[in-house]
Amino acid sequence: MKRAGTIAGVLILLLGALLLSPAALAQQEIRIGAIYPRSGSLALLGEESWRGAEIARQERNEAGGILGRQIVFVNADAPNVNAARSEAERLISQQGVQLLIGTYSSALSMAASEAAARRGVTFFELGAISDGITQRGYKTVFRTNPTASMFVAAQMAFLRDWMAPQMGKEPEQLRVAIAHEDSDYGTSVAENMRREAERLGLNLVSVQPYSSTSTDLSSVILRLRAASPDVIVAVSYAQDAILLQRQAHELGLRSKVVGTGGGHSLSSFYEALGDLAEGVFNVDFTQYEVNTAFTPGLEEFRERYRATFGEEPRSGHSLANYMGAHVLFDIIERSGGSLDPERIRASTLSYVVRPGQLATGWGVRFDETGQNVGATPLVTQWRGGKLVTVWPEQAAVMAPVLIE
């Protein structure tokens, strides 16, 4: 008897050791590849985006993980398209990752998600906005954030429904100009704008493409000035958004400006421009000065961000990725912790949240293409150094104003 007891004891010890061995632990973890540009010229917002997803991960793990399993990110830096593709391939083939998230930049997203989809691996985009990402017929590519055309729709609706009446004009009298950086991103957004403006009957008076690496945009401003627009809709990255605003001032162009996410929403936009930023509108992911009744969980996110990274979030990109990551974790939970692509797809398509329930305020409802059509961009305005949400009303903390 004594002998049997000893054997049982040894067996239990062995079993315990087996369970606690790294291999066994790894079995339990849910491993997700996180591809973001964290060096190079996209690093600022790439890093910002990653931080949001990372906070969601930590939060979820502290709350017990997904069905008791901890979530682990296998992080990869993708400063350019080639790196995005090769890192996606490496994570899948060498690290055995079955689900990828990312990427902030549309070009990177296209490359990484294609590499994933070709291998039948699920890819969740949490921040890039190019429409094409979810329009290639891939069954395993999803996106939680709004697309570029959703941005444009919100922007033009704002011009027609608020700006024109505010200026005492009919929509067809509102002189609209577009200034856009001339990469694929800016060009396709501008093309959407042109169509949407025409559809809504706005008076489009000028379209000015320019290179976002320009050191001087006086010619853009001079051409815009010659068209004397009421409002300029800009599609810009960080540096050029600042440059446009500054040179508009230097060259006496006083039209209202509405940005399209990107550079116009960065805190550095205000830091660089100060008073010149006052009153600039922007259509963007949900920002922090928003009616928090509409965005439950936002304050907690912000506090956690501060505690983790020792500074204020630098843009809404982190928040969008935070929300998207949580949605993804919920979806994995609903598929019983399985990362099997078909089960993930099934639980994704059946997952619905009404607007005003999540930290971004966005609703969730995925269509057949994998796009979350419940997400809505908000209109914000720079007021006293803060980017406050001004439109639509249920999300607004202040009413929009025209500042001379």
Partner: protein
């Protein structure tokens, strides 16, 4: 139309002045040390961060900061020449290009590590001041940058022409072999040229900081622009640098204004390529030494 043209010309000249200043440093280093410094714009980036931190931490005005930043950049340039360039001088042009590209990458990644990718700007009382000069508007900090560039050029010309050190720089630029035999300590002149060239990049950074932002990769486009200006104006020619710098500024704003902003970069890069093909010595070029750096 007249007002528009005038404004475009003024704006073009204003940016052109800064381009010329950036290019002057690059050209000085090229002319004397016979290397193309691909980290030139990154030296400007370092200066811009220095201005930012001096302003943010100690409230030092950007224009005052030049007293610290220019000498600091001079020393950085001397350091680079002594530690990075000298050991490989005389090896293949490609090797030296790799070395300066490596310096560029190191500086950019250092900046990214230390300061993240954020855009850093200083706001001074004069940052957004604008002068209403009748038909044209002139940004005050841009005007200051332009005027300071022109003054620096005048100083540089006088220095090169009338001082011994200036003559020695020219002598080395023209013929280092002969210069050596004249008793000129050529290695020291290299240090000096790299130091001065870097200081000029630094001063350009200082002058731009009131109206531009610092970020890790801000220098890349300026390296490229300075290179275009140097080739257009002629490798080794300071007069050419001024003219070409202003010309690039003018081409940029005029084509941008009257054709399309989308083609303004194409315009000067196109001109650059044409010049490289048909007149590699540039408008004013001495043409000497181009083969040494792998251009011919």
């Amino acid at each position: 139309m007249f007002e528009l043209t005038l404004q475009a010309i003024v704006s073009g000249l204003l940016v052109g002045g800064v381009y010329a200043l950036m290019a002057a440093g690059l050209n000085l280093i090229f002319g004397v040390v016979r290397i193309i410094n691909f980290a030139h714009g990154d030296l400007m980036m370092v200066a811009m961060y220095a201005v930012y931190w001096l302003f943010t931490l100690s409230g030092i005005d950007p224009y005052v900061a030049v007293l610290v930043v220019a000498p600091a950049l001079f020393l950085l340039g001397v350091f680079l020449q002594r530690v990075v360039i000298r050991p490989i001088q005389g090896s293949s042009p490609l090797m030296i290009i790799f070395a300066t590209v490596a310096v560029s990458l190191v500086l950019q990644n250092l900046a990214l590590m230390l300061f993240q990718g954020d855009f850093r700007s200083v706001q001074t009382s004069y940052s957004i001041a604008v002068l209403d000069a009748g038909p044209v508007l002139v940004s005050v900090p841009r005007l200051i940058a332009f005027a300071a560039s022109i003054l620096l050029f005048a100083g540089l010309f006088l220095f090169l022409r009338y001082t011994y050190v200036g003559k020695a720089l020219r002598a080395v630029a023209e013929n280092r072999t002969v210069a050596r035999l004249m008793g000129i300590r050529v290695e020291r002149i290299y240090l000096l040229a790299f130091g001065l060239g870097s200081a000029l990049a630094g001063i350009a950074g200082v002058l731009m900081m009131p109206f531009a932002s610092a970020y890790p990769t801000v220098g890349t486009i300026y390296t490229l622009l300075a290179f275009v200006v140097v080739v257009l104006g002629g490798l080794g020619s300071m007069e050419g640098t001024v003219v070409a710098g202003l010309a690039v500024g003018l081409i940029e704003t005029l084509t941008g204004t009257f054709i399309s902003p989308a083609v303004k970069e194409i315009a000067y890069f196109g001109l650059f390529i044409v010049i490289l093909l048909i007149r590699p010595q540039g408008f004013f070029g001495l043409g000497k030494g181009t083969e040494e750096v792998g251009l011919k």
